[in-house]
């Protein structure tokens, strides 16, 4: 379980370095997004996921120095979201 292991590793880094550690959050978010797109989702679920992803930008600002890897998240998500299989797509198309 790479995501969970990286989350644990990142937590341990934070414990030892507190505010000065280089957070792995960006990598973790991309890994979660890659997992998210493996299963079909409704448009609402995709919007909710994206809002959660984008809604955290205030926290990035607050701890900006810690989040060197965050720049990778939004471009990665922009590509990944094109691959999500939309649940009920066929149904919507016939309406």
């Amino acid at each position: 379980m790479d995501i969970l292991e990286l989350m644990n590793y990142n937590y341990d880094l934070g414990c030892n370095g507190k505010d000065n550690f280089e957070s792995q959050l960006g990598k973790i978010q991309v890994m979660i997004a890659e997992t998210f797109i493996k299963t079909p989702h409704t448009k609402e679920e995709i919007a909710s996921f994206e809002a959660n992803l984008y809604g955290n930008s205030q926290m990035f600002g607050k701890h900006a120095a810690s989040y060197a890897s965050v720049d990778m998240v939004y471009p990665a998500w922009d590509k990944l979201k094109e691959q999500v299989i939309i649940k009920n797509y066929e149904e919507n198309k016939t309406k």
Binding site: M1, N8, I28, I32, M59, H63
Partner: protein, 179 residues
Amino acid sequence: MKIETVFEAIDSNQGLSDDMKDNFKELVTVINRFFPMVDLTNLGNRMKTLRLVSTSKLLTKDVMEYHPVSNELCFNLEEIMKNYDVRHILMNALLRIMTAHDQTFGFDQNDKLKALNLGYTEILTNFVIGNESEATLFDDEVIATNLISDIVGHDVLFQSYFTNNPSMLVKTLVDKGVE
């Protein structure tokens, strides 16, 4: 266990000050109001003998840690001076005490779900009591856990957490494609 019995357990703990007893009782009332279906037996049993311990950052890396085996709630004195919302910290602690098992709490087992467990505990804490301080806890873990809840569903996290059942959560994670 009824909430009144938990109050009696808190009152019977001679190691807690009257103020601390009042704080705990108020917070237990809040938890019970939000999650009336969650059993309070573990919490009540542990509150009878809970010990509060002040430690240094060498022993307690976070602002607070709960040790289920010794039933000790340890506070990192240096960290807690950083303007935290103490009610928030105590609520986070109560959730840990409530779901404590073996050497951990919630859905964690052998530290494999440690960060996810901490993130989810903090999400629950924010949900039931909020945070009146700018000093926040487990920011990265909260962000990641929020996203993971979009994959596995909040119900699975909730059930796994309050029934100490990591296998339910792990199965769902695997089913959803977590490798």
